[in-house]
Chain length 759, copies 2
């Protein structure tokens, strides 16, 4: 039965001297505050709380004196629903929003802008309900002066949840310091097809690794679980739920044909871990799963997430995803109704949710369903203390220096040495001249990844800068770019070749880019429509062939043909297929998109000032023709292709150190696995001890291997330590093997310890 509508009177605040209503009482229990406020709201006001229609950058403009003023667009939006539920991207700065250092809010004045908007919203709201400021924080706050962190794929390569938790805490503190509230963070997408342009936003291909990092993310951003968030902590919206990494052909927002077991095994564990860790919200994904679009999937959002998992948070729809449902419902009103009934609470940019009043009138949704969604939005606002502190005071921002430190530490952890057969690395003392070549070597612009704001001048370190800065005196370091990231202009290659030929070593920095430029064309949801300039990756930039620009391949061929030992460094948002580098380079590293200070991290590893500690969070394919190549496929009897291997070029978990490690036979007791690890080389090093499960007797066809625990250990030369890990859960099988190794491929031949769980 619908709640009776209170009369929406003109009064915008309580009469003087009256006792404040219960919802204004910070000491009242949270459910009571929510219920009280809800009971006072009109249907229109309620519907307003479920909308997040504006682009934040349309809400303000710069004044001639350098301050901000609000726009007619904001006034119109707050008038429409007599308030504002949420505002997306008030501080977003990038090529799509058109916001840059000239027009947008930075660290200095972001909070001032947030307060200005919030004052207007609260004033315009009869009941004084503040807006949620929802911001993109996929790898640092996507705002001017925000600290850019390495992308998720690089975080995945670090296998270091504790470090990532610190970085996430930093990003949340930056967000809250400038008046933002809610962080949209990539975490749940699994990288199953590197053709997908959003591969960089994934922690990798493995559900356990992604779950551990998602847990760290939630802990880092939200802090200790509790009713209220600390002032420097930000509720997260974990995106995307669910199966978006499994769309066919790696095509963005395409269908996912997965069955429920595959979805549960691979694509849901990160979400489950995030929910367990207390995530405040999840974002329902664009894609459908086996016919049912996530934003209209009641079984997924209501049945699984809220029902079986007990999730009490908010479900936000991805941008314009509700309106897309009109394709199957026939119009936007019924699209909004479908999404709300399925379990979506808060829409993003859609028309559909603006018509929920009509949907109630048409009987497509009940007002109880509206109320339940509104309650979840209000609850989050109460948990953030917005009614008590709608506009500050805001906490002091963490120092930019700390941001640089944590970003660089994450980058350092991500640099992964894939091969080094000739021992060319670390750079030997006898090397006197290093030619630093390639289109990625002298720029930081393409180290950042998608969803990054324009960087201030001087932010970041390129590989060339860092090598010149860190190299011992007397080491000559000439540079030539050789070619651009894209296209087939080879005119710069001869210069690079001459330089390589005249050097002891060539460092060739190749790769891709997700850097959006003002000439990029965008879809209505900000995905890139055409990849102009240098874009080869990022949202909307799906790649069939996985190859670098043709000139880069020509440069690689030409430089390696000189005979000068060549170290290839790949800076990339996905594993590109560059098997030539594996064949011809003396050493090969990938740094993914390591962030602004990635050049420093790479240079430290090259010079041996840091150990290479990254491990692959994804299998690296030989070519797009052999996809998929993830290690945790089913244990079937198929062999390879007749014209190529079905095995990846480099295995999940692979990554070399400058030393070597030896593993003892694992010992298993209950859910504990212990293994003795020895640094058998002559340098300090860190390895990631990886525990894989191989199910033997099981009702469902098993995977070849499943990662079920890992732990990094740093050891001095000759040092031995026993590493004890806890298996993620009791394996749901009657018998299994445990194999401990330094990569999935190595685990295939590692000595198994058989667990018979039938007795």
């Amino acid at each position: 039965m619908p709640t009776p509508h209170p009369t929406a009177g003109p009064a915008r605040s309580s009469p003087p001297h009256a006792a404040p209503p219960p919802y204004r009482d910070p000491a009242a229990p949270l459910p009571a505050r929510v219920a009280d406020l809800l009971s006072r709201m009109t249907l229109r006001e309620k519907v307003g709380q479920l909308n997040q229609r504006m682009y934040g950058w349309d809400a303000y403009r710069r004044t001639p004196d350098g301050g901000f003023e609000l726009t007619e667009a904001l006034y119109a939006e707050t008038d429409r629903f007599e308030g504002l539920g949420a505002l997306y991207g008030l501080m977003r700065a990038d090529a799509w929003s058109g916001v840059d250092h000239g027009s947008g809010p930075g660290a200095r004045d972001g909070a001032e802008l947030a307060d200005l908007v919030q004052r207007h919203v609260v004033e315009r709201s009869r009941l004084g309900i503040p807006a949620l400021f929802v911001e993109e924080v996929p790898h640092g706050h996507m705002a001017l002066d925000g600290t850019v962190l390495p992308v998720n794929l690089a975080v995945g390569a670090g296998w270091d949840p504790a470090l990532y938790e610190r970085a996430a805490a930093h990003a949340a503190a930056e967000l809250r310091a400038r008046g933002g509230h809610v962080a949209l963070v990539s975490a749940l997408d699994m990288s199953r097809d590197p053709r997908w342009g959003r591969t960089e936003e994934c922690f990798g291909e493995d559900p356990y690794l992604a779950a551990r990092l998602t847990e760290a993310l939630v802990h880092g951003m939200q802090g200790e679980p509790g009713e209220h968030f600390a002032p420097d902590k930000a509720p997260v919206v974990l995106k995307h739920f669910a199966g978006q990494g499994a769309t066919v052909g790696g095509r963005n927002s395409a269908e996912s044909e997965l069955g429920p077991r595959e979805l549960h095994d691979i694509h849901l564990p990160a979400a489950r871990a995030g929910v367990r860790a207390g995530a405040a919200a999840v974002m329902a994904a664009y894609n459908e799963v086996d016919g049912v679009p996530c934003c209209g999937n009641r079984a997924l959002l209501d049945g699984l997430l809220r029902g079986r998992w007990g999730f009490e948070g908010l479900v936000m729809a991805d941008g314009l995803a509700v309106d897309r449902l009109a394709r199957i419902t026939g119009d936007q009103v019924s699209a909004g109704a479908l999404a709300l009934n399925a379990g979506v609470d808060l829409s993003l940019w859609d028309e559909g949710f603006t018509h929920l009043e009509e949907a109630v009138e048409r009987g497509l949704v009940s007002e109880e369903t509206v109320d339940a969604a509104v309650a979840r939005v209000l609850r989050l606002k109460f948990r953030l203390g917005l009614f008590e502190r709608p506009h500050g005071p805001h906490p002091k921002p963490p120092s930019a220096e700390l941001g640089r430190e944590v970003s660089t530490a994450l980058a350092r952890a991500a640099v992964t040495l894939l091969h080094n057969d000739t021992g060319v690395l670390p750079v030997r003392p006898e090397v006197t001249r290093i030619a630093v070549l390639g289109p990625h070597s002298d720029t930081t612009a393409h180290q950042l990844g998608d969803y990054t704001a324009p960087q201030g001048p001087g932010t970041g370190t390129s590989v060339l800068d860092a090598l010149r800065h860190l190299a011992p005196p007397g080491l000559d370091i000439p540079h030539a770019p050789g070619c651009a990231l894209t296209g087939d202009d080879r005119t710069g290659i001869p210069e690079a070749v001459a330089m390589a030929a005249a050097s002891d070593l060539a460092v060739l920095v190749l790769g891709g880019s997700s850097a959006r430029t003002p000439d990029t064309e965008f879809d209505a949801n900000g995905a890139a429509r055409t990849a102009l300039s240098h874009m080869t990756c990022g949202e909307g930039v799906d790649l069939a062939g996985l190859r670098l620009g043709p000139a880069q391949h020509a440069l690689l061929d030409a430089v390696t043909a000189t005979g000068t030992p060549t170290v290839v460094v790949l800076v990339q948002g996905r594993p590109h297929a560059v098997p030539e580098a594996a064949d011809r380079a003396a050493a090969l590293l990938t740094a993914w998109y390591p962030g602004p200070w990635g050049g420093e991290a790479i240079a430290e590893v090259l010079l041996g000032q840091a150990e290479p500690t990254g491990r692959l969070p994804v299998s690296v394919p030989r070519s797009a023709a052999q996809l998929p190549v993830y290690y945790n496929h089913k244990d079937t009897e198929y062999g390879g292709y007749v014209d190529d291997s079905a095995e990846p070029l480099y295995s999940f978990g692979h990554g070399l150190a400058y030393t070597t490690f030896e593993f003892g036979t694992p010992r298993v007791s209950g859910r504990e696995v212990a293994v003795d690890v020895t640094n058998a080389g002559e340098r300090h090093g860190r390895t990631v001890v990886q525990v894989y499960l191989r199910r033997l007797i099981t009702p469902v066809w098993p995977r070849t291997l499943e990662l079920c625990a890992f732990e990094a250990v740093a050891l001095a030369p000759g040092e031995r330590r026993t590493v004890t890990m806890t298996l993620c859960a009791e394996p749901a099988c009657a018998a299994a093997e445990i194999r401990v190794a330094e990569s999935a491929r190595a685990a295939l031949s590692a000595a198994p310890v058989v667990l018979d769980l039938r007795t």
Copy 2:
């Protein structure tokens, strides 16, 4: 409760003058005969009926006088279970079995061998139970002198169920004439990834087309539905059930991750149609679907197939598929039990089913379950009349000439003209010299496809032979192969180039091969393990890159570079990615594997003696990197890749005629669609009118298009006819569009007729 065991006495036949037992009475109702016989059998005898362990070619050998004798292996097998349930491949001849014209049975003496074996089996069986002779008949009986038909993919290209029904009837008659009983036929696999080596065994990518052809197959082979099979009709085992075309990466027997809706929409309709048409048996596939192996999938075999579909026939497991279940059950005994409990009746080559007595003793299966499976095997033997006529008389074989006619007709229907922009085809009267080039042009060996027996000398026609035979007098037709199908030997290219340069037209016949040779290595189930010699396709021959041999590409480049108009003909078992041919050839045709007389069909089309009538049953990709490319993907908003299109090079349904057709606006009335079709050109021609459904208002995310009816129409120049078709079923949606066109791509821009089904 288990049936009480009768005592297995030494008596092998009824005492003299006693009334024959009910199971021997042809007038008794079939269920009563089955029940009576079952009640007389020991558990061991029953288990024997469920096994089909031997390779048929191990059952006999040639005697010096040219006859046959039985082997110790057969004696041992019939001793083991006091009879024989079924014998696989008694007449199979190919490189794997090692059977050839010197050693194996042919049209002349096949029945004699079958009778010899059957006499022994019946004698050895206490109750006189004959064996089922199960033979491979995927595209004609895979036996010496069997008529080879074009592969299924070519049949799919014909879009002619009536013609295929005639061909299927011919194959069944050949099988029965030489004493075979049951035909193993490919029908149910859908081509969703052309990397799969068994793509040639699919009718294409579309479930409706496959369903229509499966129905025709069952009608053709089995005849009118009824309790008994006519003497020249053969019960079919439709293979494979289910989802085998959807294994990841196109890898044979790998996992399929499909959800239930995708499985039902795409992979089950052909099976459903086959069951509705009365198919006697289906084969449970190797692969798993979302974790559950088909041979252990009770929901699929018992719940769906027998329960919801009402299937009363036999379920046979694919070769060694039961034993593979030991991977998850722990041993072969429990593997056999899992398969039997799931609904498998008859095993092929496995050890698992030989231990069913032990499985009963261990309580893993009940004797009722064994009985139910045995009853289904016995029922098929009664339906075949084997108790009445265990060894003939066999029907007279159809004439070889008729076989050639029907095979050639199917080949002719399959030849598909993909482009002919310059109108170079049909060959113009002014052409005086045609250079016939390419490794496929002067041989029939590679036109046949996998699962074919060695051909007798002189069987078949190559493109070169046919062109020389059919061309008008005075047309000079020189020939050079240019290169081999595989490898990169380019030494023959200059000769071909010189010949092309000196001709008015070049016909370049390229492609792949599934021809197995004695040096091919085989897995235990007959799949090719290594692709030696010319194999680029067939079971076990999965291809990552979809490219032809490198020398073939070089030959194509060199011949087209001469400037002589070049017609490229692709003879292949899958759509290879040869976009160069689309760019550089004056015309392009594909004939798939058209069978022995394919050269004739191709030459007729080239010369204009036959019209090109084939239409693509699969989308042709530009490269493996853009897979999947099937037309009936979901209607999502994704665009292409930034480095390539996501659209196929040629669309499903595409195929040019030598004339053009115009379609009127379709008229829909109930489930009838009528459209006026006009031959707007100056030649006779045949087009396939294709009706596509585009769901509008629907609970489940729809596909862009779904084929829902088709009809071929042949028209004289200027002729117009109204073609009336019946939609496959009431679309399960509230509103839909109907679009009629000559291909899926054309349907995208065809004028829609909207059906509002809500009223």
